[in-house]
């Protein structure tokens, strides 16, 4: 188990703490996928990668 206040990320993970998340929304470039047009959304969802899964 990861302790409560530890940095989120074990090696290879980019998770952020809630504080970093708040910074992302407030100061950095937070833009939810729903704000992109449909075809760009599909790109983010991996239309052209091998990992694309149609839910």
């Amino acid at each position: 188990m990861i302790p409560e206040n530890a940095p989120y990320a074990p090696t290879g993970d980019r998770s952020r703490t809630p504080e970093a998340m708040r910074r992302l929304i407030k100061e950095e470039e937070f833009m939810p996928i729903s704000d992109y047009p449909r075809d760009v959304q599909l790109d983010w969802l991996g239309r052209y990668t091998d990992y694309y899964v149609l839910d």
């Binding site: 188990m1 990861i2 989120y8 990320a9 074990p10 090696t11 290879g12 993970d13 980019r14 998770s15 952020r16 703490t17 809630p18 970093a20 998340m21 708040r22 992302l24 929304i25 407030k26 470039e29 937070f30 833009m31 939810p32 996928i33 729903s34 704000d35 992109y36 047009p37 075809d39 760009v40 959304q41 790109d43 983010w44 969802l45 991996g46 239309r47 052209y48 990668t49 091998d50 990992y51 694309y52 899964v53 839910d55």
Partner: protein, 298 residues
């Protein structure tokens, strides 16, 4: 949608790095966590709760944390008109310049608390073919589509609006030189001070702009059926354009070696008749040769 995460923990938390693909999470579990952990999933996550980093890789940004930070600002989607609260549909340069100035004033006065949606920008990269704007060197028009490259520039503008800092259009450095010079000329014009009435041609227009404004006005007087027909044609052309882009992308994916079974079939269909014919002859020839060969052992 459903999101997945390979982790040693037992829940997906705000800020976690997640994916929409089970396969991808599995890969991460094996490659990074060396199999120590498990894949957990969360269902019913909205697209407005995911911040894209790479294809298939997102930050999970749940609604509650967004609301906490943005203080309950409700994004307004749609035309700039409701955001301005003005009864106008700016079409010419000059009108749009006025619109932006008015918008800026309202933001500075604190009348507009939070706004997000279509924005007016200038630049040749926004030009669309065959629209009413196609003969304008620089257009200031609503942006109703983003590309990832444009998104960051647009975000700066969005952020300024959200934080009531006024609108600062910060994408000029991306423009080619010529339109940029033209834009400077536009900005050097004296700002309109007050009385612009919707539907009228505002004063302080160059002769060229007057002609354009007249064209716009004439367009507005075309019967509604005719306008609908023009609109339908425009949509049809747009659809065709998108389709050809799709085809190009698919072709590119095939060229780069990311083939899937369905795409093999697509690529076969995309071949010329000569190609198909040659392949067919080889295939049938091979078949006949095999049958003849087997015939000897009867």
């Amino acid at each position: 949608m459903t999101i997945y995460r390979a982790t040693e923990g037992d829940e997906i938390r705000a800020g976690d790095y997640v994916t929409n693909s089970y396969e991808y999470a599995k890969l991460h579990l094996e490659a990074v966590l060396r199999g120590e952990g498990k894949i957990i999933k969360k269902e019913g996550v909205g697209l407005d709760e995911l911040h894209a980093v790479n294809p298939n890789e997102f930050f999970y940004v749940p609604k509650w944390i967004q609301e906490e930070v943005l203080g309950g600002i409700v994004p307004i989607k749609g035309d700039i008109v409701p955001a301005f609260g003005l009864r106008m549909k700016p079409t010419t340069h000059h009108q749009k310049q006025i619109a932006i100035n008015m918008f800026r004033e309202r933001v500075e006065a604190g009348e507009i608390k939070g706004w997000r949606g279509e924005l007016y920008l200038a630049g040749s990269f926004l030009e669309e073919e065959d629209t009413e704007y196609s003969d304008v060197d620089i257009v200031m028009q609503t942006v109703d589509y983003f590309s990832p490259d444009m998104a960051s520039d647009l975000f700066n503008i969005q952020k300024d609006i959200l934080q009531n800092r006024g609108v600062f259009i910060d994408v000029l450095h991306k423009f080619p030189e010529e339109p940029y010079e033209l834009l400077l000329k536009v900005e050097k014009k004296p700002e309109a001070t007050a009385t612009f009435v919707a539907g009228e041609i505002p004063p302080e227009l160059t002769p060229a702009e007057v002609i354009k404004a007249k064209k716009q006005k004439a367009l507005a007087e075309i019967p509604i059926e005719e306008r609908q027909r023009i609109e339908a044609e425009r949509k049809h052309r747009e659809l065709k354009r998108r389709e050809s882009e799709e085809r190009e992308k698919r072709h590119k994916a095939i060229v780069e070696g990311k083939k899937k079974p369905a795409e093999y079939l697509d690529s076969y269909i995309g071949q010329t008749n000569l190609n198909k014919f040659v392949k067919l002859v080889i295939f049938v020839g091979a078949g006949v040769f095999t049958l003849n060969f087997l015939d000897r052992f009867r």
